[in-house]
Amino acid sequence: MDIALARHWVQAIAVAMDEHQDRLTQLDSAIGDADHGANMHRGFNAVLATQVSYRPDSVSQLLVKVGTTLISSVGGASGPLYGTAFRAAGKALPGTDPDPAELLAALRAGLDAVRELGAAAPGDKTMVDAFLPALDAFEEEVRAGGDLAAAAARAARAAEDGARATVPLQARKGRASYLGPRSIGHQDPGATSTALVFGALATAAAR
């Protein structure tokens, strides 16, 4: 991944958050507080705005900047979580353009940081439930010798599946957990936006 690709990724995320804003809001309305769509939209709009005049030296720097921008523009649970994910991933990257394996390791660092911050385990009905299977799929493809486009495409599908698989779960973290068993039967908004993040990576990598 080079800086141009990283930029395309971020732009594709912003486009996806714009297109899916209402859907994320409605998902969050069912088991949360109806702000996830606006949160993601605001956050990635802010990211786009900073990118205009920003000339990073590396993908690493760029992702750190994305994370910092998310933290200072989103708020809510998703702001610090996504922000930390991008920051940790960026920091874990080398100063050079990462290969797929290096990117994977960085994304793992991002996931670890999310889990450390939010204390969510797989199955708690959070963004982790899309993030983790996405990375597992990415890893399998990389191990099998696939390139970034292939790995990203598989990760995106796995994230989608992971998001859908949150439907029958009972939430144990975040505000959906307040609903207890009534959180069952609804797809987690954060897992859904995570699937959009990986979908955007696949889109960018396929260009």
Partner: protein, 332 residues
Amino acid sequence: MKKFLNTPESVLADALAGLAAAHPRLDVDVEARVVRRAGAGRAGKVALVSGGGSGHEPLHGGFVGTGMLDAACPGEIFTSPVPDQVLAAATAVDQGAGVVLIVKNYTGDVLNFRMAAELAADEGIEVRTVLVDDDVAVTDSTWTAGRRGTGATVFVEKIAGALAERGAGLDEVAAVGRRVNELSRSFAVALTACTTPAAGKPGFDLPEDEMEVGVGIHGEPGRRREKLGTAREIVAEALAAVLAEPVLTGTDQALVMVNGLGGTPLIELYVLFNEVSTQLAAQGVTIARSLVGNYVTSLDMAGASITVCRADEQLLALWDAPVDTPALRWGG
């Protein structure tokens, strides 16, 4: 969506501008989203900062003023503020004696305020955090995000604010805030869902004869749905939940709030308060002080919460201390 607004996106900025226009004794930075007392602070006074998502007015901006908060940082509707914003507020009001952050226990609030606290510490500001988690509808277990912070926030802000005004030190102010939280419990029911400007429609549908029991203040459904009961029955259920908390066992005098969630008129809150007063008296609890009104709301939700704080003479004296804010004002 039936709301007085210009665009869903501009609600917060417009409301903050309105807050500024209505209250000359507040210094409102609409851009930075910081509401603070106008004028210079008192050197050496411990500063109190609170904040959280908007949509709960008068919380928190309406509680900025002498005897209560030094600053508030309102986030977007139902979205906790970002760390920079909290940091800006803390920096603006720190008088060298440190800052107490009063945080309602929600994942977003906890994370953003924690990050802000780290940034503030980096800048040499001494920070203590008081976490408010009074809502008994949510059990505090490792399988949830813990109890939510709701009505007790007003008690914490008022009482810690009074102690800070008296010149107490940082740890002392934080300690009294934590003690108030520990001694307070809340329970809420809703008769309708609320509508966020972003969603444009109510968060859930509720049949004409049903209520949501154990709701929070973010428009989410409650723990369960029940047939709408009488005021007497609803209060009995709420008080049973609240008084079952071990920390309230043996309460003889209490600070009580009957709080409207935004769409419930005052006359109904007085009907509820009458039940609370009668039923607490029957259980040997004297209401030493009380609030009846809209203090911690959930946009236009029709509903009410009941908060009981087991109070002693120290807490009551701090409660009675002068306060001068848009939403609470007495003494002086």
